[in-house]
Symmetry: C2
Subunit: 161 residues, 2 copies
Amino acid sequence: MVESDKEDRLYLDDLTVGQRFASTEFELTRERLHEFATVYDPQPFHLDDNAAKQTLFGGLACSGWQTASITMRLIVQSVPFAGGIIGAGGEVSWPQPTRPGDRLNVTSEVVEIIPSRSKPHRGVVKLRSETHNQRNELVQVLNATLIVPRRIDAKGKSSVA
Amino acid sequence: MVESDKEDRLYLDDLTVGQRFASTEFELTRERLHEFATVYDPQPFHLDDNAAKQTLFGGLACSGWQTASITMRLIVQSVPFAGGIIGAGGEVSWPQPTRPGDRLNVTSEVVEIIPSRSKPHRGVVKLRSETHNQRNELVQVLNATLIVPRRIDAKGKSSVA
């Protein structure tokens, strides 16, 4: 596991497949859940305790997109890629809902490193991020495609061929 | 195109491949962009006009997860599935960033309908949702896996075999 360190940003050339990053925790308060659902996912199972009991969720749960957004915050804090975390897209799944009061953490692993053939300044990194709650239940798996800059020497060429 | 109508919810058995749904618009204000980025994606290209100019984005852009969240709101309003919009996961890509002031709309199409073998009360629907801005530029493609209930007769069997 690598601790995040803003002074020591990682370029594509610094990464290795299997490299892992662990985040801190983020608590999903009832207020944050309500605030997000009101704007972005106004459905009964995200907004009303009683209505939620009658649904597939069996009780109040946050929007999957809020789980994804919290995951993004934890990735931003824990994965110190040069240039930041810039996603072109990804695959997301939610094996279980996130509940009010849950504390989430994210473990990310470098799965693939693909230097660009046409753009010597950057490449693509596939990052798999698993989001767990405080009971160590898996609530989200994200396989993201990230754009990561390369180290460039004084001649404008990348330092690793 | 089918206009959303809360009085006329659609079950899995009512759907056909190729069926389409068009949403209204959602405007991403500068305030909403800042509010979301502060909590969920605190990176310079989402928070600081000048810093954003130096990055791949070339100017302030919202988090891809906010584009996804706005898309969810527009799907909830425009796709009248019985039981609501409940996602098990999906694939998302962001061909272009969303900018402050952009007005987004979503067109969704039923791509696949898969009744569950083990659960007669429900099935899975694959829905492809394209998100465009007011210049008709594609800012997101989402292929979502949704859980949709089936019509059940008095004997507890689905009305379509």
